[in-house]
């Protein structure tokens, strides 16, 4: 069923490069997700609070501009973004190939998506609770820090996992253009050199990782949400 020497190749990959590939994959998943939240969390909150009926309305042209930029970035397919952003990668991390270079387009692709996820999470917070906080004399910052974020915490954790898994998928895709990790094993050995066994192995590994992330996310959300009796 499999061509000769395929099993040996797989064994070789497992014993020599797998651990490093796994490490790269995790790095390419967690680092850009966290960086995307560093940008996307404040941005998403701003989209809610700066709204016409938000707690601190911002000029309408500014809000329209923000929504426009986010929509543009979200509509560019990731593979195209990957290439377009290469000059930025060179400027920021000094290279256009390898795991580090891929981090830049991953963050650029993910932060607008994360901003939208944060926006919907924050919008779920009961406006009545915000009003109650205002009636107690809370400042805008206090409302964001002590009401909006803590009350939206379960939704934020759930959406962190959605972002994490999406970015994980992007990272695996980047194996095609010089990114590292398990994605590269699947593409280089499995696809380019036509070793289906290696490809299946890599894909199954990716599936298992997604399952793990999702299960961990579900447990965290359940633990965090005090609305569940």
């Amino acid at each position: 069923m499999f061509s000769e020497g395929e099993l040996e190749l797989l064994q070789k990959i497992i014993s020599q490069g797998l651990l490093q590939a796994l490490g790269e994959t995790l790095l390419m998943t967690f680092v850009p997700t966290i960086l995307a939240f560093v940008i996307g969390l404040p941005l998403g909150i701003l989209l809610v609070t700066g709204d016409e009926k938000g707690i601190r309305p911002l000029p309408r042209w500014l809000m329209k501009l923000l929504h426009f930029i986010i929509n543009i970035l979200r509509s560019v397919p990731f593979l195209i973004l990957l290439i377009v952003v290469l000059p930025l990668s060179r400027a920021l991390v000094g290279t256009t190939v390898g795991t580090r270079a891929i981090l830049v387009p991953l963050v650029v692709a993910a932060f607008p998506f994360v901003a939208r996820l944060v926006e919907t999470s924050i919008r779920e917070v009961d406006p009545g609770v915000v009003e109650a906080a205002q009636s107690m004399g809370a400042s805008t910052f206090q409302i964001i820090w002590k009401v909006l974020i803590p009350e939206a915490r379960p939704a934020l954790i759930a959406n962190f996992m959605v972002a994490l898994i999406t970015i994980f998928g992007y990272g695996a895709m980047s194996g095609a253009v010089g990114g590292g990790g398990i994605g590269r094993i699947a593409v280089n050995y499995g696809y380019n050199r036509y070793k289906p066994l290696v490809m299946y192995f890599a894909v199954i590994l990716l599936v298992i990782l997604v399952q793990l992330f999702q299960s961990a996310g579900n447990v965290l959300v359940k633990k965090a949400d005090k609305r569940i009796r």
Partner: protein, 334 residues
């Protein structure tokens, strides 16, 4: 003392301008329990939100102890709001915090140290008779306890005034009474002024000393509860206080008679025999009678004919029937 001076609020909607409040002037004395009653859509919620400027009035001023809230900077306003507590129909508790942490919330806003905040929050939970629920999350509490937590939270900043926006409207009658009793206790013991917004007469009757009737965004009348409720002068007041009054007006008869059956012979159908023998037709407005062992017990309300002589003949006939008490009534409840 809270003074509302010529308050107006106009909302701009897609269908044009909506005047929610029109030229409202009110004065609420310190330590008072002041009710603002009106049907839904009367502008009650807008009015109460204007008192702490959650809603900014289009015109007019809000004076709290002589200080005009509409003239304050946002920082000063936030400070002023700490002396005006507010509770809501929907409680609006922080769902991800325990009861104790909810009560701590305004103390955290004010920068009170954690240990001190918890100590005071526990005292407040004791004050609202809920000390054993400190560790419970809102989802684990039913309506009454939730509102108690909200009251404790509103009191944490030691406000002089507590605004209650339909605070008991989501509660059953028994819980409503208990919450109102608690509010009255707080008014007596802490001297906190209560402003009670409601659409329910019984809430005003139970707790308020003065009341304003709001209708169509305007104050229709205001005064002591006993006066306004016993003798409402405005049309809106009469509609609120005497809701049955309207029903009686639309009845065709001007005289009503109540028959109390105390063992009259059930074999003789009274209304039918009046029609057959005397030619007098009566309206049955309500009847609740039971035939037990060939005799009738219960009561019935009949409308007498417009014609005076016919009405007199009918009364004469009815009064002669043994086991039947006949009395004329001026109004009754269906």
């Amino acid at each position: 003392m809270i003074e509302l001076v010529k308050l107006s609020k106009t909302f701009s909607t897609a269908d044009g301008q909506v005047e929610a409040l029109k030229d409202i002037s009110l004065r609420i004395e310190d330590g008072d329990v002041f009710g603002i009653i009106g049907l839904s859509g009367a502008g009650k919620s807008t009015l109460v939100r204007c008192i702490n400027l959650l809603e900014r009035p289009t015109e007019g001023h809000i004076l709290v102890d002589g200080r005009d809230l509409t003239a304050l900077s946002s920082r000063e306003l936030r400070k002023a709001r700490k002396s005006i507590g507010m509770i809501f129909q929907g409680f609006h508790l922080l769902m991800q915090r325990t009861a104790l942490e909810n009560v701590c919330f305004p103390l955290e806003l004010a920068g009170v140290k954690r240990a001190e905040a918890r100590r005071r929050a526990l005292e407040l939970l004791e004050l609202v008779e809920l000390p054993d629920k400190a560790g419970a999350y809102p989802v684990q509490l039913s309506g009454g306890p939730k509102q108690r937590v909200a009251i404790a939270r509103a009191l944490a900043s030691e406000p002089r005034v507590l605004l209650c926006d339909e605070a008991t409207s989501a509660l059953d009658p028994k819980t409503t009474r208990a919450i109102l009793e608690l509010l009255r206790k707080l008014n007596r013991e802490l001297g906190v002024t209560l402003v009670i917004i409601t659409h329910e007469m019984r809430v005003v009757e139970q707790i308020c000393s003065r009341v304003a009737i709001l209708d169509g965004g305007e104050i229709q009348e205001t005064g002591p509860v006993s006066e306004v409720f016993s003798n409402p002068r405005s049309e809106a007041g009469r509609r609120l206080v005497l809701p049955e009054g309207e029903k009686i007006h639309v009845l065709p008869e001007n005289r009503l008679v109540r028959l109390v059956f105390d063992g009259a012979a059930a074999t003789e159908p009274i209304v039918a025999s009046l029609a057959a023998r005397q030619g007098i037709l009566l309206n049955i407005l309500s009847a609740d009678t039971h035939a037990i062992g060939g005799k009738t017990f219960g009561s019935m309300v009949l409308g007498l004919p417009q014609d005076e002589t016919e009405a007199a003949r009918a009364l004469l006939y009815l009064r002669e029937i043994p086991g039947l008490t006949v009395e004329e009534v001026t109004d009754y409840v269906f």
